[in-house]
């Protein structure tokens, strides 16, 4: 089993040019922040620039037509990857952050009223907290925060108690970027829907680690970023169900979305993806993202999940043997996101010393400041796994941590 794990992932590393640039001892364990891109993604992007690059939607010439076609094809690939009914539900934008802000402005802002309640959880990334917090403030609505259990899971009893006829929106992360917890989104969405409450799922940390079926989930919105799914930065996805998209009002205006424009009035296309993508879109980003999703599909979910879960178990037991190391988040259903503290050593001392050992991890509040404070901490160190990681990477991390214990004379 162990041998298989190593050989599979070593073969995987060969797909990623970064491993040709860095030394063979390089251990990249910052995948929850940004994943590296395989050669097929880089190639798809550069091929687009070398052979196609033009402006979509105007289609007055051959290259523009090809650009439009490839952009549309990318939309189809994304729709297929998350089992959306079709490409007409896939809005491309910059990022997860942008997608959530768009939902806050386009969907909820026009209908929110004083006294309404928005429900989030205590484990949200700032991207899925601030847009709702600020919207609630501006409209004298209330942001309610569902607490967590000691193992770092959503307190489902509290969640159900907090859902009410006052709740106008539920925004939940699918997977925690700090605790690694995979939330039971199917049942959480179903409970909200039983009250008729629209639900957004933040899939930034889920999209490359667990299969997503938005149709089966029944969520109204599902959002994620390209750069956490082995794709480029600057491309994000906002899936909106047909009924949710109908209720959206454009919040960003410009070319490409309009029906007729005068100096005083404009009318825009009836709600469709183009209505929410004004301006020239990030075509190369969409093409790169589609190539990344195809790459994941080619590996297959069974192989991805079994590899990452085996490595996660290996990492958990190896980290548990490091003295004075505490892992935050002990959910049974989780991905390979490992946040920890080592004695009272500051996360930035740990990351600097690990960086010296060619182990790339992240230290800080991980854009989840309220959660980190609730844990009684200022910062944590986070190691996060991807498809190319192997046991050698975990060994390098653990050896580095033992070395830090020696430096700090623990």
């Amino acid at each position: 089993m162990t041998d298989v794990c190593i050989s599979v992932s070593n073969a995987r590393k060969a797909d990623f040019p970064i491993y040709k640039k860095m030394s063979s001892a390089f251990s990249y364990l910052d995948n929850a922040a940004t994943t590296h891109s395989p050669q097929v993604v880089i190639q798809a992007v550069s091929q687009y620039y070398e052979e196609v690059h033009s402006n979509p939607h105007s289609a007055s010439h051959t290259l523009s037509e090809r650009t439009t076609g490839q952009y549309y094809k990318a939309r189809e690939t994304v729709a297929r990857f998350i089992a959306a009914p079709g490409p007409e539900q896939i809005i491309f934008c910059h990022s997860t952050t942008m997608a959530i802000n768009m939902v806050a402005m386009s969907y909820l802002q026009p209908r929110i009223q004083a006294g309404d309640e928005i429900l989030v959880t205590a484990m949200e990334h700032h991207a899925n907290l601030l847009p709702w917090q600020q919207l609630a403030k501006r409209h004298q609505a209330t942001l309610r925060v569902v607490p967590l259990t000691p193992t770092g899971e959503i307190d489902q009893e509290a969640y159900h108690q907090m859902l009410s006829t006052r709740t106008v929106f539920v925004a939940l992360t699918h997977v925690s970027n700090v605790l690694g917890t995979i939330n039971p989104v199917t049942s959480l969405v179903a409970s909200a829907k039983s009250y008729g409450i629209p639900v957004l799922l933040d899939g930034a940390q889920a999209i490359s680690h667990t299969p997503v079926d938005v149709t089966a989930l029944g969520c109204d919105f599902y959002v994620f970023s390209g750069h956490k799914a082995y794709g480029p930065t600057g491309i994000g996805v906002l899936y909106a169900s047909a009924s949710a998209m109908e209720k959206m009002t454009p919040c960003i205006f410009g070319g490409g979305m309009i029906e007729a424009v005068s100096y005083t009035e404009s009318s825009w296309l009836p709600n469709q993806v183009a209505t929410f993508e004004p301006g020239t879109p990030n075509v190369s980003g969409a093409i790169g993202l589609a190539a990344a999703l195809d790459y994941l599909t080619q590996i297959g979910w069974e192989a991805i999940v079994s590899h990452e879960q085996a490595l996660l178990q290996y990492a958990l037991s190896a980290l548990d043997r490091v003295p004075q190391l505490q892992i935050y988040g002990r959910a049974s259903d989780r991905v390979g996101v490992l946040s920890f503290t080592l004695a009272d050593i500051h996360a930035h001392d740990i990351t600097s010393l690990l960086n010296d050992q060619q182990v790339a991890v992240r230290g800080g509040h991980h854009c989840a400041m309220p959660l980190i404070h609730e844990l009684g901490l200022v910062s944590v160190t986070r190691a996060s796994l991807g498809v190319y990681n192997d046991e050698q990477d975990i060994d390098a991390l653990v050896n580095g941590l033992h070395d830090i214990c020696r430096v700090f004379q623990l």
Binding site: I345, H346, A347, H348, D349, S352, L353, N355, D356, Q357, G363, G364, H365, M369, V378, S379, D403, V407, F408, Q409
Partner: protein
């Protein structure tokens, strides 16, 4: 030995984990908070200046080993020095870390600060090494420009 590990020498670990003058100062004194937004570290520097001379200096707060050790050493180094000497020392230290200027060991204080020079290789950590110093300089300059008598908060 690797670069970062070189910085984390015995003396830095010692001062980082067992900081000297880690307390508030009794009045009269000036205090100022230094905040490293990158990591959330907050240090508060307390200083008593009489006749342009630092009579006492201490600090409180929390930070990484580098920022704690730098603050701890600062409180020892600046005590008894004139404001001008401290300013010149900081100018040399800052130039070495931020601009990569040569750092000449001209005084015992320079010698003690030399352990932080390796931090220049890690731009993200330069602020850790200079946080307490920047905070102290804010107090001293404020004090000098406004000619404020030592005051309590």
């Amino acid at each position: 030995m690797s670069m970062a590990r070189e910085i984390y020498q015995q003396i830095l670990i010692d001062h980082g984990r067992h900081p000297r003058n880690f307390h508030e100062l009794e009045a009269p004194c000036c205090s100022q908070t230094g905040h490293n937004r990158l990591c959330g570290d907050i240090l508060r520097v307390h200083v008593r200046v009489e006749n342009e001379q630092v009579m006492a200096c201490s600090f409180t707060g929390h930070g990484c080993a580098i920022s704690m050790a730098s603050a701890s050493l600062l409180t020892e180094i600046v005590r008894g020095q004139t404001v001008e000497t401290v300013s010149l020392l900081f100018a040399d230290f800052h130039a070495a870390l931020v601009d990569g200027a040569p750092f000449e060991i001209t005084t015992p204080a320079h010698e003690r600060l030399a352990i932080f020079l390796g931090v220049a290789e890690y731009p993200a950590r330069v602020k850790c090494a200079t946080l307490a110093w920047q905070t102290l300089m804010a107090i001293l300059h404020n004090h000098a420009s406004q000619d404020v008598a030592v005051s309590t908060e």
